[in-house]
């Protein structure tokens, strides 16, 4: 018997949700054929059959939340009939019918009382996360959703004092963001929450339900924000050469590779090169230790409809500009369609975020989980810059480097940013081996 189980698809994933069964119990399946779609914390993924055979009883119907390693179904030997439901047993046939029904219609399973509550609270029930048996949405789930709570994925430490106060005052710990070490909820956090809002500060306005991805992203940000001590370095970079470089390459990229070269592509190439000499910027602070990565996997922050995803270009330093551009385009497309695979956003070591296309001059980005640095680019705009002591109008852009102070100190970060600026201003430096710069 071969198990179809919920695999671990990313470092931070602890469980997944069954979205859609592509096959039903009793269907013949081939090894490698997709049988079920599951949603992880980052994307929707198809799981494949581990073997040739017949799909066995489905133990995790649509909507079921399954922990890593948890069973979804199995693939039976085509000759074996064991485990398949006997239709004359009324109990089991009820289950089979349930499965067929949900397969056919893909409706949300929710109790009548939950639907009533969702209706009364004007909540889209398809957005509610189910916690009931068999993946059913129960009333408590709707009420939970209505209070905009994000599910806490890993246990958050709560100080004993905070726990006691919360219990005494009837404060919901799930709603509190801890400001202690590692996101711990401390007494102050509870005290701050239990102070009632002044009259008139009640909630007004329309609640908008968000997707799971959005919720996860929000949680990630909070984690990162509260764990790593952020500091920021700002550098104004002259962009004249960058602009020329892009112009020069546009035509050939279009003609030969059918790709529109962007500034992001060029920046990726340059950053990847420069990172070679600054390994601390390409590291992770994990459990009091500094891990220097041997690969340079650049994440590009991409805004998609329901949040932010950061697909990764692996070994960006080994790729030429065409390869980078092609990969970049493919990743952005997939991100917009929600079709990113786990390998697309795993393994990132450094992240670039470009808000130039939105006319932002500069901004401070939040570190990506477990990364020591993130680089935020603003737009290229004409600025008044001194040239030979005289004001001149030249294209320039602001780069803001955010660093995790545990891994990178000010000087270290500044050195990287300085070399980066120099390389962007003088792109021919890329031709030289690293040591010569």
């Amino acid at each position: 018997m071969n198990d179809v189980y919920m695999p671990q698809l990313s470092l931070t994933m602890t469980e997944g949700v069954v979205i859609n069964w592509l096959k039903k119990e009793g269907d013949p399946v081939r090894k490698g054929e997709p049988v079920v779609e599951v949603e992880t914390d980052k994307a929707t993924v198809e799981l494949e059959s581990p073997a040739d055979g017949i799909l066995g009883p489905i133990v995790a119907p649509v909507g079921a939340i399954v922990p890593i390693g948890g069973p979804l179904s199995s693939v039976l030997d085509p000759d074996s009939r064991t485990g398949l439901k006997n239709p004359t047993n009324s109990d089991q046939s009820r289950e089979v019918n349930h499965q067929a029904f949900t397969d056919a219609i893909q409706r949300v399973i929710a109790s009548p009382r939950a639907r009533k509550a969702a209706h009364e609270l004007a909540i889209d029930i398809t957005q509610v996360e189910a916690s009931g048996p068999g993946g059913r949405i129960v009333e408590a789930d709707v009420l939970w959703h209505a209070k905009d709570r994000v599910r806490i994925e890993k246990p958050v430490f709560v100080s004993p004092v905070a726990k006691r106060i919360a219990k005494e005052e009837g404060v919901d710990l799930g709603a509190i963001v801890g400001t202690g070490r590692g996101g711990r909820i401390m007494k102050e956090d509870v005290v701050r929450v239990k102070t009632p809002l002044p009259a008139g500060a009640e909630e007004t306005g329309k609640k908008e339900s968000v997707s799971r991805i959005h919720q996860i992203m929000a949680q990630r940000l909070v984690e990162s924000w509260t764990t790593a001590p952020h500091f920021y370095l700002l550098h104004e970079i002259r962009a004249e050469q960058l602009v020329n470089l892009r112009k020069s390459l546009l035509a050939v990229m279009e003609k030969k590779y059918h790709i529109k070269l962007t500034y992001t592509d060029l920046l990726i190439k340059i950053v990847a090169e420069v990172l070679h000499s600054h390994p601390r910027l390409n590291s992770s602070w994990i459990e009091s230790e500094l891990l220097l990565h041997d690969q340079i996997n650049l994440g590009i922050a991409v805004a998609v409809e329901d949040g932010l995803v950061v697909p990764v270009i692996h070994n960006a330093d080994t790729l030429n500009i065409a390869e980078i551009a092609i990969q970049r385009q493919a990743l952005v497309e997939k991100a917009n369609e929600g079709k990113l695979h786990p390998q697309d956003f795993s393994g990132g070591t450094f992240t670039i975020s470009n808000l130039g296309m939105y006319n932002v001059d500069s901004f401070n980005a939040v570190l990506n989980t477990n990364q020591a640095a993130i680089l935020a680019f603003g737009r290229i705009a004409d600025r008044v810059i001194p040239v030979d002591g005289q004001p001149a109008v030249k294209p320039a852009l602001f780069a803001t480097l955010t660093c995790d102070h545990r891994a990178v100190d000010g000087a270290c970060g500044a050195r990287f940013l300085d070399e980066l600026a120099e390389t962007i201003e003088n792109p021919w430096l890329l031709l030289l081996p690293p040591d010569d710069k």
Partner: protein, 333 residues
């Protein structure tokens, strides 16, 4: 506030019979060994000595004619309280109960009344095996024209029996042979409990438990255990299956959103099915989970105690069933 004393269910039943025998000369008792021997469970002990053989009559072992005589006497100005020793033996009297007693008033266009009470005892737990351990009250609740009563406490037992005896219709009064020693407060003095009114034995907010007869005690234990896990259970004792107090049951489920029905009769085609269907029909939009049923196992009740115990609903089953009704967020989290 009337004076209270503690009685067992057995004492409460005997007191009811004693009081009604004294109050109305038309009332008389009839059954196998109810007179001189005082009843196989000692419920009628002392009554023949007190009221005489004419009022407390020992019969041969002839369930059909015992029930039939009860019907005939009830049709002709008497108010017999007939005993069928074990409810399993009601099978021998079915024609008299179902085709005669239940229907006489209706078939004769209201001319004839049948103020008959049949007392019988159900319940497993004494290693009495399959033909002496059943709980067949659902069969009788199925028949229009009958009333079916199941008390669970001494207070209910006395009040309901007096009402049953004074009722002008055939009433089947189900005792539980395992519950005769259950104790509870009973007021001194005259009182009756109307038939067709349920009793809320315990108030709660998270789940409604509906239990009959000795299953009320099982549900009480379960409610205590659930309370330790901060699940607040409301416990409803219908007391009368026909007529059934639908309003109390539905109001409770509309409040809690969850229901578990517990009855000692066989699970299939019984009391729990009727009440569950009622709830899903008339409280559908208030349900947060499917209505669950717990009944006697669908198996002829085995003799040996180790096996017999498994067939009877217990509080652990109730607790596990209740917990399965919630999502991962318990209501009071």
């Amino acid at each position: 506030m009337p004076e209270m004393r503690e009685l067992t269910i057995l004492e409460a039943i005997k007191e009811a019979l004693d009081e009604e025998l004294a109050r109305d000369p038309a009332v008389f008792l009839m059954g196998e060994d109810v007179g001189r021997a005082g009843g196989v469970f000692m419920v009628t002990e002392g009554l023949q000595q007190k009221y005489g053989k004419d009022r407390v009559m020992d019969t041969p072992i002839s369930e059909a004619i015992i029930a039939g005589t009860g019907v005939g006497a009830a049709m002709t100005e008497m108010r017999p309280v007939v005993e069928i020793m074990f409810c399993d033996f009601m099978t021998l009297a079915m024609d008299q109960v179902v085709n005669q007693a239940a229907k006489m008033h209706y078939m004769t266009g209201g001319q004839v009344k049948v103020p008959l009470v049949i007392r019988t005892a159900g319940g497993a737990g004494r290693a009495a095996a399959a033909q002496h351990s059943q709980s067949l009250h659902a069969w009788f609740a199925h028949i229009p024209g009958l009333k079916v009563v199941l008390p669970s406490t001494p207070y209910d037992a006395k009040g309901l029996l007096k009402s049953a005896i004074r009722d002008d219709n055939p009433v089947i009064y189900f005792e539980d042979k395992m519950s005769y020693k259950v104790k509870g407060p009973v007021p001194v003095g005259e009182y009756t409990i109307p038939l067709g009114v349920a009793d809320i034995k315990r108030n709660g907010t998270d789940v409604t438990l509906i239990a009959t007869s000795s299953m009320v005690q099982v549900a009480e234990k379960a409610a205590d255990l659930l309370g330790e896990d901060k699940i607040s259970a409301e416990l409803i004792d219908p007391r009368c299956l026909r007529p059934l107090d639908k309003g109390t049951i539905l109001d409770s489920v509309k409040k809690t959103g969850r229901a578990v029905v517990i009855d000692e009769g066989y699970l299939s085609y019984g009391t729990t099915a009727e009440i569950a269907a009622l709830i899903s029909d008339e409280a559908f939009d208030y349900l947060d989970a499917p209505v669950k049923r717990i009944g006697g196992m669908d198996v002829p009740i085995p003799m040996t105690p180790v096996l017999e115990t498994v067939t009877i609903p217990n509080e652990v089953q109730v607790v596990q069933t209740v917990k399965g009704l919630f999502g991962r967020r318990y209501p009071n989290e």
